[in-house]
Symmetry: D2
Subunit: 255 residues, 4 copies
């Protein structure tokens, strides 16, 4: 075994002091939003104003998607079987996989690989769609089970545009949509997964962090479901794609 | 089996629309911080300005605590054994338990029960310390393995004071510290767990959500460790309380 | 930190040698059944012939119970979301809790506490049923969602009787059934959970191992379901209490 | 969504009856060993006598390997943090991955692919070793951190030989060892992972079940460690590759 100490670059701990990526935790608590802190701990540097707003919007966008996703089903099942909250969250996080939440990293991987090629994005998008067709690959991050248009993606790109932040990956993402429409005749929406993939790629995140960002975003939703299961339902309930009704607050406006 | 549909009050989903606790997700993405959204989804209502700042500070405060906590050890061990990021996070979340992260809910439970009693907080704190001594219970949320004073708690209470937000639970928390010092002679610091417990109790959160708030806060740290393990270390590394060095950015200031 | 080494009494490893509870693993591989090895590793000693047969029957009895239990639902959901086999098993094991598989330990706890009292078992059973009624507790391990009579319990007790092994806990278990019937008018079957609880109590197992024995028994079933999900179904399937048909082998006899 | 019921071929449940792969569970409880039942549920058919002994030896062989493997570390860490037994087992199972327990399936995959080629096994083994060298791949299932010779593999192959059961995969496995020794000069032992891989391949198991068989085998060991942690150690213990001593029973013989 090596006698050298192993290394970590994340957090430095001393008696009475905690520094995350070099910043004193008490300063971070006061001066940064939580979304900015998430950016800092994953990227190592503070975000610009545009990046801070985008990271905030990303984390908010996927905080919950109702009672049907597999991760919610698993969280509620573990809770319903009589377990602790952390076990229920773990069960939910386990159900996030290649086919649930995985489209972000798959989409970001493809975008990062193709955006690195020379040439303009519409030519790259056109080549990419040909390649997808040849290899019978469905472009991840496009299309949605429920939404014909994903309103979250539109908002995300709107924020990026407002700051003049849209870079090569967001542009490629839009060009892929156009190329898919022209070459296949199907006008698929860019799902929030595809939208997040494009934005974090422009931010310079490694595509392998895509699922991580989705997990951070979704955990509060899983906890809300676990707590609702615990406080509203009987133990060992039969769960699954059964009919349910929403009985929360009516639609309302943020003042 | 009941023929009635089951109910959820969290999120309403329709084609092209998502409302969290009644608010349109695209409005939330633009107008609320992620910390405010976490408050909303767990509490059902929007936070006040003071509550928003406090929730933000709470989530930031526990985002990471270096490489030694059990949850980090488990996350890195799962990653090191050759697993996916979500499995590593699940492993870490499983290691958050009654003795790691659990002090928030245990402390909040006691504070909520005792703050509900009649009388002023110093009398209640004094009775509580007697009760703890009689029953040989260690007050959860006081004392820390590493920190003699927990700087995060001081910052949290400072933010509460700035807004005139400190209520009966924060006051009881401080009174418990005084009573512990007077009756046992030990000047224990209020750990961040105790601090969070007092603040979320003043915010009106059910104590059973204490571990949930800690999990939300810590998940980004776990992901940072998982990713560092994946990208810096060899597979199936021997992990544990081995010596390690911090080699991240030097101490620096937020502009 | 203590400078003394910590201790383990389970397995001794040296270069080229492995001893489980003192026995050379290669001897165990050849001379003991796997059920006997499970008994050995949990209890520290070799089982008698009766105990070996009973432990075997216990492990077989709960190997699977079709596609409806929460643990199967979770395992299949994790698998369906695009995860590895070990993550799927972990998800299933997380869904074993106080209300699924937990009846063994709850039932064993009560039986071990009450069997320790003086007097004959029918008097104890009668007092116990009174105590249950007063405290509005449902006796765990009695009654079953699907089975009016649980054929597995009958077989387990038959094996115990054949060997003259039925001790105070099995007798108490039967007496509880009689007392419940006399005092409440309901002829509840002893479920397999109750049956296992009685037998492992007669074997001298700590009741806190009840859930462990259930987990050991059920894991092969979870793996069979995970593999079937992987090889027969499409990814990200909607799972839950949906109608399904059995299309495996017809009923047949062991030669 | 399809209106057709989905299908499962594992277990048929009716009121008062349970049939696993067509066999009445009460018959299985009485007539089959647990190892035979595991074979049945994973393979769909009853094992021959040789297969029954081999499956038994396989499950026993990996039941525990002391306190150092990642899965034991994770299980004990989750338990030590104050969690339930099933959460601890789930944490341990999550730490079984490509680099811990994964060698069985990796090795079986290679053996199954190469054994399917025409020609005698020594020629195939020779080509395989060339291919490994060219592609800089380490042959999984050969070599061991601790053992120069893995006594468990020798015993497994001895049982196979006794029954005249050794087929093309076991022979290929032995030929690979010879070829590795001749071409690289390193006499690597066939680890138990490699041994199990060869045997289950001769039994006709899909290589993707390799990790599943390892998980089944190891879970009782994880439960023994979780229970020992719970009953012998203080909560939130610092765990890792720290020195520990074995203080269980002395070496002894099975009568």
């Amino acid at each position: 075994m090596s006698t050298e100490n192993w290394k970590t670059s994340i957090t430095k701990i001393g008696p009475g002091t905690i520094h995350v990526k070099g910043y004193n935790i008490t300063d971070v608590m006061e001066k940064l939003t939580y979304a900015e802190s998430v950016f800092l701990i994953l990227k190592g540097e503070l975000p610009s104003k545009a990046e801070a707003e985008l990271m905030n919007a990303i984390l908010v966008s996927s905080i919950d998607h109702g009672a049907t996703p597999p991760s919610v089903l698993s969280t509620r099942t573990v809770m319903s079987a009589g377990n602790s909250l952390n076990a229920a969250v773990a069960g939910g996080v386990l159900s996030i996989g290649d086919t649930h939440g995985g489209a972000i990293e798959q989409s970001a991987k493809i975008m990062q690989e193709w955006a690195a090629k020379d040439g303009d994005v519409s030519k790259i998008a056109s080549d990419l769609v040909d390649w997808l067709k040849e290899n019978k690959i469905r472009m991840p991050g496009f299309g949605h089970r429920i939404h014909k248009i994903d309103p979250r993606t539109a908002k995300l790109f709107e924020i990026a545009d407002k700051h003049g932040y849209s870079g090569r990956h967001i542009e490629l993402c839009k060009a892929i949509r156009t190329a898919l429409s022209e070459k296949t005749g199907r006008k698929l929406p860019i799902s929030i997964d595809g939208g997040i993939a494009a934005v974090i790629s422009d931010m310079g995140f490694d595509w392998r962090l895509g699922k991580g960002i989705f997990i951070i975003s979704r955990v509060p939703g899983l906890i809300a479901h676990a707590f609702e299961e615990k406080t509203r339902e009987k133990p060992m309930r039969k769960l699954g794609p059964l009919p349910f009704d929403y009985d929360g607050p009516d639609e309302r406006e943020i003042d």
